[in-house]
């Protein structure tokens, strides 16, 4: 059976035009998706039942026992950390926030290691953003800053920018000017009309210089800034000022290099300056398919998009203090629940070492690096393949991901709801 208009649950583009062939409750073919999408739909190394660490080995257990063990671990903790959430659907994220509140724990999503700094900058100066549809139909100048779209978001350019036509941009490949700012000549840089090669860690300086040039103060700028000649900076500023509609997309090259949220703030303020001349917008290239959703869901419920600390019964937020990397590095939490992420592979070594020291529970369909640090793993259905739910695209548009095949596995929402019910029962609520 062929299913059309399937949403890809891999990266923040959430492409919704895939055609997937299903045979005997298994995905056998994927059309329209990129290589990453095919790997996600066709990969199949699922953990078959919950496993509990015993001594140096694992014991297979049933779901009921797994849920009761998970609830006991979380209830016994003085500061449980609930981490991940970007690889699951909104409904599960919502149960996660309620669980964190009833436990008096900290809930944090993977923004903490990707676009958390973007959120901090937006909280300082706002977000002149737009949907990807606006970019597709209007943008004649597109900037990729510290983002290698071709490799990380392979269909971004073909669906929204240089390789696709828009309502007001007919001959897209010729009509759109692409500027790439990066520390190395990436594949994306190869197809740029203007490649600005920045010395690593000098993005803040370049952005400040561009802001000054755009407002007519190039007189203060010296001959080169951060490895970029002043003449090129002036040229880039001119291209930007002449644009009918410009869009900056930025990635972790900007959020996670020296200066962090101040880089993003500077980029937003450059956009603000450009908006005195023409129309410009700026958007983060979100990585996980539903990381934006985790920010949305956390915010609806708690008022804060990530790093929410409920330990005193009310929501407190202070990245740098209540963020997972900081909590784990300082060894503050005494239990951890991981959902829809693989911190064993992605977080710094000191954090992984602490996860191995404390009881760590993981909800994940596959054996991954975190499994080796965990005390308990509960396999779940994969959202977008054998579970449905709501996700948010990188521009904040909510999209429903489908259930394509029947499964024996419960989804994240079901397992989390069972843990939540058990926790409330023990607490007598």
């Amino acid at each position: 059976m062929k299913v059309v208009d399937v949403v890809c649950p891999f990266c923040g583009c959430l492409c919704d035009d895939l055609v997937v062939e299903v045979c005997d409750e298994k995905v056998v073919k994927v059309e329209n998706g990129c290589t990453l999408a095919s790997e996600k739909f066709l990969g199949d190394h699922r953990l078959q039942s919950p496993i509990l660490r015993e001594g140096f080995g694992w014991r297979e257990i049933g779901y009921e026992e797994a849920i009761s063990v998970a609830a006991d671990i979380l209830l016994a903790a003085d500061l449980p950390l609930l981490y991940g959430w970007s690889g699951t659907h909104g409904e599960a994220q919502s149960v996660g926030v309620h669980l964190a509140e009833v436990l008096g724990g900290v809930i944090d999503n993977t923004s903490t290691v990707c676009h958390g700094p973007s959120i901090l900058a937006i909280q300082e100066v706002g977000h002149p953003g737009c949907t990807l549809g606006q970019v597709k139909n209007r943008a004649d100048v597109v900037v990729y800053w510290g983002a290698n779209a071709i490799e990380a978001h392979p269909r971004h350019m073909s669906r929204y920018t240089t390789f696709t036509q828009g309502f007001f941009v007919k001959d897209a490949h010729l009509a759109r000017t692409v500027i790439v700012v990066d520390t190395r000549r990436t594949e994306t840089a190869e197809i740029a009309d203007e490649f600005v090669q920045v010395e690593a860690g000098y993005d803040y300086e370049i952005l400040s210089a561009l802001r000054a040039i755009v407002r007519g103060r190039e007189d203060v700028i010296s001959g080169a800034v951060g490895g970029v000649a002043k003449t090129q900076l002036i040229r880039v500023a001119e291209i930007c000022k002449r644009a009918k509609f410009g869009a900056i997309f930025f990635g972790l090259g900007l959020t996670m290099s020296a200066g962090k949220h101040k880089n993003i703030r500077n980029a937003i303020e450059l956009v603000e300056e450009l908006n005195r001349h023409t129309k410009w917008t700026i958007s983060p290239m979100r990585g996980h398919w539903n990381v934006y959703g985790s920010n949305e869901v956390f915010t609806w419920i708690s008022g804060y998009p990530f790093a929410v600390d409920f330990s005193r019964g009310i929501a407190f937020y202070n990245p740098g203090e209540t963020t997972s990397v900081d909590i784990l590095r300082r060894g503050e939490c005494d239990a951890c629940l991981v959902v829809g992420s693989d911190p064993g592979a992605h977080l710094p070594r000191a954090c992984a070492a602490h996860l191995a020291k404390i009881p760590t529970i993981q909800l994940d369909p596959h054996v991954n690096a975190t499994t080796h640090l965990a005390t308990l793993q509960i396999p779940v259905a994969v959202s977008g393949i054998d579970a449905e739910g709501t996700a948010y695209r990188m521009d904040g548009v909510p999209i429903r991901v489908q259930k394509l095949v029947e499964t024996k596995f419960p989804d994240d929402t079901e397992v989390l709801s069972a843990i939540y019910r058990r926790v409330r029962e023990v607490k007598g609520q």
């Binding site: 008096g104 909280q123 210089a209 802001r211 103060r217 200066g259 303020e269 203090e321 300082r330 503050e332």
Partner: protein, 256 residues
């Protein structure tokens, strides 16, 4: 009145303790106070051995002395308006948040957000401090507004971020972006600093040591003779941040 709090050994010493109740004015009503250890509310005496000596009728007559392992105790001195707190060892984050009067002396190191959005009074730290000293809360438009913070060691990144008033003096070196978004007040750095004062709109920053990576959007104004700490110094004067139409002053000792 002198209140001595000696930290008791804890089963989980890494768990953070939130102790905004530790301010001089609270001890006028006794020591029946609570703090949070992780997600558990505890009585102060569960976490500290408490000794009280002598009387007091107003907060300025109260001195609180903290001893033992207090490096994970946060928010000590928050909203303090008078009196004195002496910390014999390290202290956790947010010490002296929003403080408006009195004095805090830290004999060792202080963690991040020391004197966050402080309005008055004085904080002296004999050791070093971490990031965001004298800064604002996330998304706030103003950091410290009054009072004095003096650090005899160094500071981490974003020292004096959003500084709007008062004085931050760091005798040692700072990390990245000290004085970023400054809009008033005085920031003095004795050692080295990297990329100071980005986006500043007003206020004065003085660097007596060396500046790594001066931002490209500061306009050079020439050399001035200035007196700092009783010493006559030749200083390069910069104005900025031009990217932000700023009119802040950044003074850097010549030849450092």
């Amino acid at each position: 009145m002198r209140v001595t709090l000696v930290a008791r050994p804890r089963a989980k010493p890494s768990l953070p303790v939130e102790a905004e109740s530790i301010i001089p004015q609270n001890f006028l009503r006794g020591t029946d106070l609570t703090v949070y250890e992780g997600n558990k509310e505890r009585r102060l005496e569960e976490l500290f051995f408490i000794t009280v000596e002598g009387p007091a009728v107003s907060p300025d007559q109260v001195e609180v002395v903290l001893m033992g392992a207090t490096g994970r105790v946060k928010r000590v001195g928050e909203y303090m308006n008078a009196g004195r707190i002496v910390i014999e060892g390290d202290i956790g984050m947010h010490c002296g948040n929003f403080m408006s009067g009195g004095e805090i002396v830290i004999k060792s190191n202080a963690d991040a957000w020391l004197g966050r959005e402080m309005r008055g009074g004085r904080i002296t730290c004999m050791g070093s401090t971490s990031h965001n000293c004298g800064a604002g809360y996330r998304g706030e438009k103003r950091g410290m507004r009054g009072g004095t913070i003096e650090i005899f060691g160094g500071a981490g990144d974003f020292a004096g971020e959003y500084l709007a008033g008062g004085e931050v003096r760091i005798h040692g070196s700072c990390g990245d972006m000290a004085g970023i978004e400054m809009r008033g007040g005085l920031l003095v750095i004795g050692g080295t600093v990297t990329r100071p004062c980005g986006n500043m709109t007003a206020g004065t920053a003085v660097v007596l040591g060396h500046v790594n990576r001066m931002l490209p959007t500061f306009q050079y104004q020439g050399v001035n003779d200035e007196v700092w700490d009783g010493k006559r110094l030749k200083m390069d004067v910069w104005e900025g941040d031009v990217a932000n139409r700023g009119k802040g002053r950044l003074l850097v000792a010549v030849g450092k």
